[in-house]
Every structure is written in C-alpha cells, then in structure tokens.
C-alpha cells in the first residue's frame, strides 16, 4: 500500500501546478472568460504544449497513456485554477469515449489531432427528462440505407458550442429506458440537421442545447451499437476526475478562508483568533481531508473492471465530495462575510463550481440512494 506518486506523476504534477500558478491566477482567468467562446485559445495552446490533451491516449497516438491517477493530478490543479477551457469535455469525456469505443482506424486518425489540441469534443447525451439515468435515451437512430438517420434533442451538453465533433447517444433499438440498444455516434458538429445554442453555465463554463433533425450519417459514424456499459465506465472515470477537481476547489477555498481569518481584523484583532471561527475552520479541514481521501479512492477504483465494485466506490466518493463541498463552500462564504458574496472575489467562484459539480452525473442524494440499494460499502459479518 502506497499513496506516493511515481516520478513521472510527480513531474506531471509539477508542470501542471506551475502552469496554474503562472498562468491561471483569478484575475487572469477573468480575462480568458471574456474572450470569444468563453475561454482562451492561448491557454488551450499552452495546455496542448504541456501535453495534457494526450493524457488518455497511448504514445503511438500522440498521447502518454495516463490513467485515472494522472487525470486526478491534472484535474485537482485545474480545480485550483478554475480552468474554463473545455478540457473535461474534450479529454475526460470525449477522449475517454473514443478510447473505449472507437475502432483502431478512427482512433488512429482522431486521437493524434485531439492530443495536438486541434479538435474539441463534446458528449451529447443528457435529455430533458433523463436526469441522472444514463440509460434514458429517446433520441433515435433509424437505419437509412447503409447509414443512420438521427433525431432528437440533447440538453446541457458540456462545452457543446465549442466542439468540432460530437459524440452522440441515440437509441438503435429498445424502449426508452432499456439498457440495450443505445448507439454511440461520432459526427461533425457541422453536419446538416445539427443545430446548437450555446450558453454560459453558473460556474463560468459553457454548455449547449443541441437538436438533431433528420441528421444523415454514414455507417462508420456508429462507434458502438450497445454503448451503455462503456459509457458507464467513462462516466465513472469522469466522476473520479470531477472529484479531484472539486478537491482542488475545496483546498483553494480553505486556503483563502484561512488567509482571510489571519488578516482580517475586527474588534482590534484578527478574526481567526475567535474560537468560534477556529472551530468552524477545523470542521472545514475535516471535510476537506475526508473528500481528498475519497477522491484518491475514486481515482484508484476508476479502472476497476467489475462495474458494481467500481460504481460503489465512485458513488461513495461522489457522496463525500458533494457533502464536503457543500459544507466547505457555504462555510467559506460565511467566514468571509460580505466580501465572500462579491463576484470580484475568488471564493464565490469556487463555491459555484463545486456546487455545479454536485449536479453533474448524479448528486450526492442520488448516489447515496444507489449505494444503499446495492448493499453499502461494508459487508455482512466477516
């Protein structure tokens, strides 16, 4: 048992941390958000230069074959920087789906371009009524000659307006919530019949509503005709990544709050000298360390092939991260007082990001219910 990073992982951490420290201060981020598309192409290029877009792909595809621990290292740093570039959508979701679903030919053609930062991806899956049920897909894929005709509407597609290529789920057969028969398609965002409307999200990132009306694709657009199991695995990996990102946000909130408590003076003394605030800071630390532990657990368990064991670990982590983040976020605002409410100050932006992370891919209550239904984490008497 060993929680240490390998030498390569340490190098990766150093370079990502340096990038965030040098290039991604809170004021710098504000500028990036004002650029076209809500993010910075210069930062996109820098992330490419560090090689982070190749993270999930093998070296022969221009990547470096990183796993969930490498992903966690990057995402925790990105959480600290509140990175607005569509990295999660392109690499974690898009890259993860390609890696598991695409043929060697497709992967060979596309992965090097993703790794080189030339392609942005989006995962169009959520629909108006599907909530957190990954099997709930009503978008249809009907056979059309040798290809398919796609129809449906996808909601809150993360960074859907930035994507050049879309990974779309559509039902090839079966009823609305059937586990079988969900196809995963890869198509250009500019394919006729695809219409999108982008908008900002609460956390300063972006998403899109995308409709598919009589969209004609060739047979090779279908990457997998029964994609739910692989989607579930990719989503579990994505949740592990979000857990790490949330830990980066929580650590930042804790650091900002402690700094404030040590410097803000009222009644003639630093407010951090008041016991009531000290105790609340300690409870934030407890929540943070518990979250960090579970984010590590999630990173290690994300590659587990047994889907039930994997999902139990991921669900438990998402519960802990959701609970910890809500506690730390609310307390960070409260302990700052009025300044914590201002949009000019960073702490509220971390709070907003972790709040939105809880709403993604199952909130704490949803995962807790699933975990409870599947027997919890600890077995019966050994």
């Amino acid at each position: 048992m060993d929680f240490d990073l390998s030498d390569d992982q340490r190098l990766l951490k150093d370079s990502v941390d340096r990038f965030i420290t040098d290039q991604y201060g809170f004021e710098q981020r504000k500028k990036y958000m004002r650029e076209a598309g809500g993010h910075s192409e210069a930062m996109w290029a820098q992330i490419t230069d560090i090689g982070l877009f190749g993270l999930p792909f093998e070296e022969t595809l221009g990547g470096f074959g990183g796993g969930a621990v490498e992903t966690a290292i990057v995402m925790e740093a990105f959480g600290r920087g509140l990175v607005v570039e569509p990295y999660f959508a392109t690499v974690i979701l898009g890259g993860g789906l390609l890696r598991r679903a695409a043929s060697d030919a497709v992967l060979g053609a596309l992965a090097p371009r993703v790794a080189a930062g030339k392609v942005k991806l989006a995962f169009a899956h959520l629909e108006r009524h599907s909530r957190y049920d990954l099997a709930d897909v009503t978008t249809t894929a009907r056979k059309d000659g040798s290809g398919y005709l796609l129809d449906g509407a996808k909601s809150v597609v993360l960074h859907g307006d930035a994507a050049n290529k879309i990974l779309l789920t559509a039902r090839i057969k079966g009823e609305r919530r059937d586990r079988a028969g969900i196809g995963l398609f890869l198509l250009d965002a500019g394919t006729p019949g695809v219409a999108g409307r982008g908008y900002p999200t609460q956390d300063g990132l972006r998403a899109a509503e995308i409709t598919f009306t009589n969209v004609r694709v060739t047979a090779d657009a279908l990457l997998n005709d029964n994609a739910l199991p692989l989607i579930e695995h990719v989503v579990d990996e994505a949740i592990a990544a979000l857990c790490a990102e949330a830990v980066g946000c929580m650590q930042a909130m804790q650091d900002l709050t402690l700094e404030y408590l040590k410097t803000r003076k009222q009644f003639g003394r630093a407010i951090g000298s008041f016991q009531v605030l000290q105790h609340r800071s300690v409870d934030m630390l407890v929540a943070l360390e518990q979250a960090r532990s579970m984010a590590m657990f999630a990173a290690v368990m994300a590659s587990e092939e047994n889907p039930i064991e994997r999902r139990k670990a991921i669900s438990a982590a998402k519960v802990q991260i959701g609970r910890s983040a809500r506690h730390i976020g609310q307390e960070a605002i409260q302990l700052h007082g009025g300044i914590g409410m201002t949009a000019e100050y960073a702490v509220g932006h971390y709070f907003k990001r972790v709040t939105m992370i809880d709403q993604l891919f199952g909130d704490a209550d949803t995962h807790l219910a699933w975990l409870a239904k599947h027997g919890g984490l600890f077995g019966h008497a050994a």
Partner: protein
C-alpha cells in the same frame, strides 16, 4: 499510488485474522460485539493470551516486548483485532503508562513494572482528571509533598476508568505548588492498596460503572515510585496523550458495528419488510459507511506517511482521526438503537448481581445503554472541542 497491500502484508493480515478469531475466547468476543461490559477476568485473560503470543505490547520498545512493526502492520493488527471484536489490551497498561515508563523511567523502575504491566499482573488505572481539572488538565491540584523517602499525597482524581479493577494507579501530582501550572507536576505510581485511598463509583447515564472518583488522604508513596524527573511530569503526560494516533479512529470497531447492524436489521420487521430493505434506513446507514470509508482512507494515508516522516512528525490528516472517528462510532450506536425499535426501552442492567428477565430480542438489551454510553467518546481523551483548539493552532496556524 497503489492501495493494495503487499503479499507480506496480506499474509500478516490473514495471520492476525485467524489469531484473533481463534485464540481469544468466543464468550469474550461476543460480549464486545453486544456491548456488554467486560469483567476484570475477561480483560486479564485476553491480555495474557496476547502477551503470550507477543502481541500485547507491540508498540513498546523491542527489549520490553515490542514488535517494531511497520505502520501498516500496526494498522492491520488493530483493524483485525477490532473487527474480530477482541478487547484491546488494557489501554492504561499498554498505550499509556507502559510507553511512559519505557521512555522516561529508570532501569530499575522498568524492570520492576514493565513485565507485570505487559502481562496484566498489574492492572493500571489513570489518575489525571480532577473535579477542577478536566479539559484544563494542567490546573490539577492533587499534591505530593516530599517527606524523607516518601511523598505524602492528598487530593482527588475523577473519571478514573476501571479503578475498581485496578491494583495500581499512575497519577499526575503537583510537587511544586509555587511553579506555573504546567511546571511542578510529577508522574507518580501508586499502589491502590496503600492506606488512605478510597474509590467511589460514578454511575453514568447508561447505568454503567466504568468510572470512579479516587480520593487520596495522606497516602504515603515511596519516592522510588516517581517516574523520571520530579516536576517534569507534564512532558510525560504530553508524550502519553500524543502516543495514540491512528488506533483512536477505531475504524475496525466501526466496521464490526456495521456488520452487526446489518445482521440485526435483517431480523427486525417494519410491517412485511425487514428493516434491512427499508430505503430510508439503508440510506442513513450508507451515509455513515461513506464517512467511515473516507476515514479508513484517511487513516491509511496517515499510516503510509508515517514511514517517511521523522519520528514525532505528523501528517495533518492524523488530527482529524479522533474527531471523525468518535462521531462515526456515536452515529452507529444511534442506528443500532433504531434497529431494535421499542425493545430499546426495557432496562435490564443491574450491577448488584441480579438481572431483570430479558424482554424482546436479547440483542436489544444493550442498544440504548450503548448509545447513552458512547456520548463519552467525543468527551474523553481531550474533548472534540479541545481537539479543535489543538488543530486550529497546530495545523491551521490560527
């Protein structure tokens, strides 16, 4: 990062699992599982079995019977012991006074006390807290005046756990009344049979008699019973209190409680449905399981880190183990009481030797007393509020 144990660690875990489940009598382990109080005999028997195997004093220096295990081994030893519902070695002997004597005592005092302490021939209790010195321990007033080759001890200790079983007590006493509060304190070993000592039980809200008041009235103690140097006792007390780091989370004990809760929840019905199928109940339990899993991971982080830290160094995460571990233990006793429903009501304890006949399922008997009793867990050993004070200062720099 690799969360798997090595083959050697796994082999050790299996050895520990088998040992605790076969060597320690079933009757004792059942009492622990059910929350029934242990007799003096139970504790002594169990410790002697451990000691014979070399597993009573694993944290001591090797020459006095320690094992010099890796932090991971110590973790596995505690985890398996707790999961098997084995009583821990008497903590006053093994975690508290033993290490202090081994670290600060003279060769003579080590030889005199360590072997019988390891074998529970001496049953120790701890004389630290006083009526006026709880969280503010350094304000203690029990005094020991030097008179020739004796100290004359006068004062009162309280919350003295299992003093009724003990034949020796280790005490913090004030030897220099003029010194500032933390100075002028000494660490004294006192035979409980000495004239002038009176033990009076304190009945707690669960009906239990774990704790006592101990009165000292002109008690004569030979000066050779002083540990280390006179007036340096506060340093030894700090060493003692800082000794126990990871075991205090009691993750293994909480795992055992969860297993028991699941077992019993299958036997209790709400209408046609066993409680174990009630989503509401399961979600409450799962919420605690998540916290426990996180705490286990936190503990493993601390354990893994201990290998690299210089002696005395501390991972900040270690400070949360007691805070979180105590709350989880308490939450599980709430859930156990939920399981037994109305059969939590009948009160069946009687320490004068006669018990009321059992009403309802026998496993219900201890549910409420255990819940009441476990309120202590966030109070003893430095209340959780004191823990927060310490963390705020030492870790957060506030």
């Amino acid at each position: 990062m690799d969360l798997n144990f090595t083959p050697e660690e796994r082999a050790f875990r299996d050895e520990a699992r088998t040992f605790f489940r076969t060597a320690i009598p079933e009757s004792i382990r059942t009492k622990v599982a059910e929350g029934e109080g242990l007799t003096r005999d139970d504790l002594v028997t169990s410790q002697r079995i451990l000691n014979e195997h070399g597993w009573a004093t694993v944290n001591w220096p090797k020459e006095w019977g320690g094992q010099e295990w890796s932090p991971v081994q110590v973790y596995l030893y505690q985890d398996e012991m707790q999961q098997a519902n084995c009583p821990a070695p008497i903590p006053f002997n093994v975690s508290m006074v033993g290490p202090v004597i081994a670290q600060f005592g003279s060769q003579e005092i080590k030889q005199r006390f360590l072997p019988p302490t390891a074998n529970a021939d001496i049953f120790w209790c701890q004389g630290f807290s006083e009526p006026g010195a709880g969280s503010d321990l350094a304000s203690l007033r029990t005094k020991a005046e030097r008179k020739g080759d004796k100290y004359i001890v006068n004062g009162q200790k309280t919350w003295t756990t299992l003093a009724q079983y003990a034949n020796w007590i280790f005490c913090l006493v004030r030897t220099d009344p003029a010194a500032k509060s933390q100075e002028g304190i000494s660490f004294l070993l006192i035979d409980m049979k000495t004239p002038g000592i009176t033990v009076r039980p304190i009945v707690t809200i669960d009906g239990g008699r774990e704790v006592n008041e101990v009165f000292f009235d002109d008690v004569e103690v030979p000066v050779e019973n002083l540990v280390g140097v006179e007036n340096k006792g506060w340093d030894y007390a700090k060493f003692l209190l800082g000794n126990e780091r990871t075991g205090i989370a009691r993750v293994g004990a909480s795992k055992a409680k969860i297993a028991r809760i699941k077992q019993l929840a299958a036997l209790e019905f709400a209408g046609e449905t066993p409680l174990i199928e009630s989503p509401r109940f399961l979600e409450k339990l799962a919420a605690v399981e998540v916290e426990l899993k996180a705490l286990e991971m936190t503990q493993l982080r601390v354990v893994s880190d201990e290998r690299k830290l210089a002696k005395g160094g501390q991972n900040p995460a270690s400070s949360i183990l007691k805070l979180k571990g105590s709350v989880i233990q308490q939450q599980l006793t709430e859930l156990l009481m939920d399981v037994v429903g109305p059969f939590a009501l009948p009160y069946q304890r009687d320490f004068d030797g006669k018990n009321e006949p059992i009403v309802g399922p026998d496993y219900a008997t201890e549910a409420a007393p255990m819940y009441f009793n476990y309120r202590k867990v966030s109070i003893y050993g430095g209340s959780n509020e004191i823990q927060r004070n310490i963390i705020a200062k030492a870790i957060l720099g506030l």
